[in-house]
Amino acid sequence: MKLYTISLNNLRRRKAKMIFLVLGLTIAVSTVVTLITVSQEMNADIANKLDEFGANIVIVPKSDALSLSYGGMAVSGVSLDARKLHESDAEQIRWIKNRDNIKIVAPKLLNATKVFQRDVLVVGVVFEQELSLKKWWKVAGRKPSASREAIIGTEVKGKLKLDLNQSFEVSGEQFIVTGILEPTGSQDDGVVFIDLKEAQRLFGKPTELSLIEVAALCYDCPIEEIVRQTSEKLPGAKVVAIRQTIESKMEAMHRFEHFSYGISGVVLLVAALIVATNMTASVNERTREIGVFRAIGFRQSHIMKIILTEAFLTSFFAGASGYFLGLGVANIVTPLLTMNGGGGFLMNYTMLGFSLVLAVTVGLASSIYPAYRASQLDPTVALRAL
């Protein structure tokens, strides 16, 4: 006979009395597990969607020239530096260690030229990548399908008096406007977009690039690591993470996380109150029993150990059952909340361990006062027979 035998026997033969305690803690733990699992999945889903919304890394040649800028970055329009970016550099990005995090690579060639005797910035792009990168673009008309077709910004339309299906000349070659951007509020409004290959041919810069915009999925890989790996691949380039974009994305994710944590905290507090109430009631019911323990020579610490062992065992069981219940609920709920059909969560031993620790911590913390009260019971009052 050991003290834990007393606890085990009490639990085994008085199951009904502990049911509410176990139920309360199980529901609390399962709620926490569900919230954390679902919010992690939703964060990843949101983050991935946000990561596809524009570039978060820009790559430019290492250059001192500031003749032209795009997106606030120095580009190699008139560069004194011999190092330039090439199409092969864009390919190299797809081979970094975290290549699975590289979602979109949008190379560009920038050049200032005259259209209708006015200086215009012409940007050669790969339209498929560019349109994937800039999901906020609303194009009146259609995207270019041939090499001599172009998209113009709304300011270009206004200043050059160009409209859909009208033609204009760039370096002696005719282009047709197939699409006009609705106002974006960015520099894209004042730019002419043509096919990259055409731009390279027209401006005599075969395979050359001015900059590369990259949309990287940085939810589970820090952006700094992707930047570092890219810089290693492209030693002659300047690789920069766009902090503002990243930080606003992270803020959106963190708000949802904080909300989940807040709800989890409230639920755990309620569970703690349920445990404390149940344990106090249990101690009150067992006043005589505790009096007997004291009379036969149990110390106050022995009484506390019995009560806390019972709390530990019930909490541990509640933690395990709460984890599996939470996992099941997360698997049902997640596909409804995410658009990528998420779910299918498998056993996660870290989360199981966390659930057990959480349940036991809440259970024990809530039981300390009832256990202390039990240990302080006056044996004569407890027994009432003496």
């Binding site: 006979m1 035998t5 007393i6 026997n9 008085r14 036969i296 020579g297 106050q300």
Partner: protein
């Protein structure tokens, strides 16, 4: 020096603004292996005296010295250890743990010792056999009759081999025949060397004692040496 010395015990119970003096200047000496009955009307202080002897309550004044140990100079943990080593309690309403078997109830005082399970079980079975309940060892205690439960309580009181047995109305909830069995068992324990102090209001039980101590209004009223010639050992 006597085995148990009670010196000028006073005990006052306070409830709100009222107070009740349960014991007034009680002094008593008890020898080792003596069987003493404490008698008196309701409210005379019998149970209070027993609780003070057992270290379950604290006197307002006075001392209890057992085997040269000043009981109320001990701290809380030392007092618990003292009860475990020196005392075995038998209560009127048995006070068994209902969710434990007979064997587990008897082993209960050993749960806080360092003895192995095997040794504990051996000690408990030996005592259970002594009180005649071997066949009931694995039954839950609340499945037994009153007399059987009281035997279990006595076995629990004995398992630690305490020198002193304190019994508060041990036959109070039992019929006459069973009461006699219990008292004979107590007599037998006393013959084995245990010092037994029994609180009782039943004169039939007092016949088993070597000495009767009478309390009235919290005071030691008288002491009589019992005639044991008609009581079988």
């Amino acid at each position: 020096m006597a085995f148990i010395e009670i010196q000028h015990l006073n005990k006052i119970y306070r409830t709100g603004t009222q107070h009740v003096q349960a014991l007034r200047d009680v002094s008593l000496e008890i020898s080792q292996a003596e069987l003493v009955a404490v008698m008196g009307p309701s409210g005379s202080g019998k149970s209070t005296l027993l609780s003070l002897l057992g270290g379950l309550s604290h006197p307002n004044e006075g001392k209890v010295i057992v085997d040269e140990i000043d009981v109320y100079s001990l701290d809380v943990d030392q007092l618990a250890d003292f009860r475990r080593e020196y005392l075995g309690f038998v209560f009127q309403s048995f006070q068994l743990i209902p969710y434990l078997t007979v064997l587990e109830n008897v082993m209960l005082p050993l749960a806080v010792t360092s003895l192995s399970r095997a040794v504990q079980a051996r000690m408990a079975i030996e005592i259970i056999e002594r009180v005649g309940l071997r066949s009931n060892a694995l039954r839950l205690s609340d499945e037994l009759s009153g007399g059987e439960q009281q035997r279990v309580a006595m076995a629990r009181a004995l398992v630690n081999q305490p020198p002193i047995i304190l019994a508060d109305e041990p036959t109070g909830n039992l019929d006459m025949a069973t009461s006699e069995e219990i008292m004979q068992l107590l007599r037998k324990l006393n013959n084995d060397g245990h010092t037994c102090i029994i609180v009782t209001h039943n004169p039939e039980n007092a016949k088993y004692a070597q000495r009767c101590v009478h309390l009235r209004d919290g005071r030691l009223y008288s002491q009589t040496v019992a005639d044991l010639t008609n009581v079988s050992a």
